[in-house]
Amino acid sequence: MDFLRPASWEEALAAKAEHPTAVPIAGGTDIMVEINFDHRRPEYLLDLNRIELLREWEVGEENVRLGASVPYTQIMENLRTELPGLALASHTVASPQIRNRGGVGGNLGTASPAGDAHPALLAAGAEVEVESVRGSRFIPIDEFYTGVKRNALQPDELIKTVHVKKADGPQQYSKVGTRNAMVIAVCAFGLALHPETRTVRTGIGSAAPTPIRAKEAEAFLNAALEEGGFWDNGKIITPSIAKQFADLCSGAANPIDDVRGTAKYRRHAVGIMARRQLGWTWEQYRGSGRTLEGAA
């Protein structure tokens, strides 16, 4: 095993180009477990801790530019207004110690369906900026997850920045685990209302081979909200709409049975979370309409 310690982003890209099998390590919260338990012995570890720009974020007009290594603690403390869904998701990540080290880049790099950030990124609408010595490109989040623990990255590419749309409406996020803290998701759900475009987006974690959106549910809800004039009249969403939305979210899930839970439970729980979050976000929208911080 070799330990590569690039001092700059350019050096990191060069190292990754030279050693495409090199495994990037930032927070270390995934890869070090695999090393400690002898599950993995990469030829090269590529340390990204010395690269300042990965730990920086910038709030722009439309988007937040979030460095891949910005720790979850920073997101939940500093970006609650701009990225409420992701801030809530960050709060559910493992433990304070892990939140101090891990960042969204790790979740994306590992691309585990159980990564806590994915549903929030899917719901908010994000683009992943990846780069190699060949240049950089933006991958829409919907195209990023390509299989179980697989993503759209080329072997020489590194994740640099995640561009997330600033919230223009309420967002929520929940995950189900069998412990009240420090737990891996049995399944997770994120919902974002986008009043400017009069759309909703969803994200489902740990209930399919990859993180997914419940697109049919979104389409149904978009139509139902439009049809009922809900965006304008701010009326309470009828229970039948909420139920149908929840059922469609459940139906979008394609989960498995494993030690953490049954497929049947996961599908059920996704529906409950979807219904509750629709209630929470819609109440927020109807109320101030502009109280965008996560409620928890």
């Binding site: 390590i25 070090m32 338990f37 304070p96 110690q97 892990i98 803290a181």
Partner: protein
């Protein structure tokens, strides 16, 4: 590979480090600082918690090579760290590291003290853990102390829910946590009284 970093204010060097070694292993097996504990090595118990540039992290999940040039505080340096902080009150986390003089005085002392250590200077949180009966087997204690000390630095008057949240990454199997809560409340109360006295 070789790794240089500062531990409890004192520069340290480790040689022939295997690239897959964790900071925890280097502290425990190469630097004679076994206070940080190896209970799970997967970031699920917090017993290896140290401060890395002021931030509490699981040292089992930090690759040794990532610590090059950085500052680490372990339970062995906690009393000194807390004392320094009290003397330079108001300084932010991570910037109130050990002074150069203190660093020179500090020595690793694995297993050196055969006494109970009565008379040894402890940080408020360490003393509170003893007084409240928060220590049983003690294996979780070092990590809890580092985490609780850092919480009290940020949040000197925590609610019970705050304490629970801040310590939710530290497992304890002996105590049922009640006396750990007592200890943190006690340390906070004593700190407050001390603050009023100044």
């Amino acid at each position: 590979m070789r790794v240089n970093f500062t531990v409890n204010g004192r520069p340290q060097e480790a040689d022939d480090v295997w690239e897959g070694e964790s900071l925890l292993y280097v502290l425990r097996e190469r630097m004679g600082l076994p206070g940080s504990k190896n209970a799970c090595e997967q970031g699920e118990c917090g017993s290896c918690t140290v401060r890395l540039d002021g931030v509490p992290v699981c040292s089992c999940l930090v690759a040794a090579g990532q610590v090059e040039g950085r500052e680490v505080v372990t339970v062995e340096g906690l009393a000194e760290f807390a004392k320094d902080r009290a003397e330079h009150s108001g300084c932010a986390a991570g910037t109130c590291g050990t002074s150069l003089d203190a660093a020179k005085r500090w020595e690793a002392k694995p297993g050196q003290d055969s006494q109970t250590g009565e008379g040894v200077e402890l940080s408020p949180i360490q003393q509170a853990f003893i007084d409240a009966g928060a220590v049983q087997c003690g294996f979780c204690t070092p990590g809890l102390l580092v985490a609780a000390d850092e919480m009290l630095e940020r949040n000197p008057s925590p609610t019970d829910a705050d304490i629970r949240e801040a310590l939710s990454g530290n497992l304890c199997r002996c105590t049922g946590y009640e006396k750990i809560l007592d200890a943190v409340r006690l340390a906070a109360a004593r700190q407050e009284r001390q603050g009023e006295a100044v």
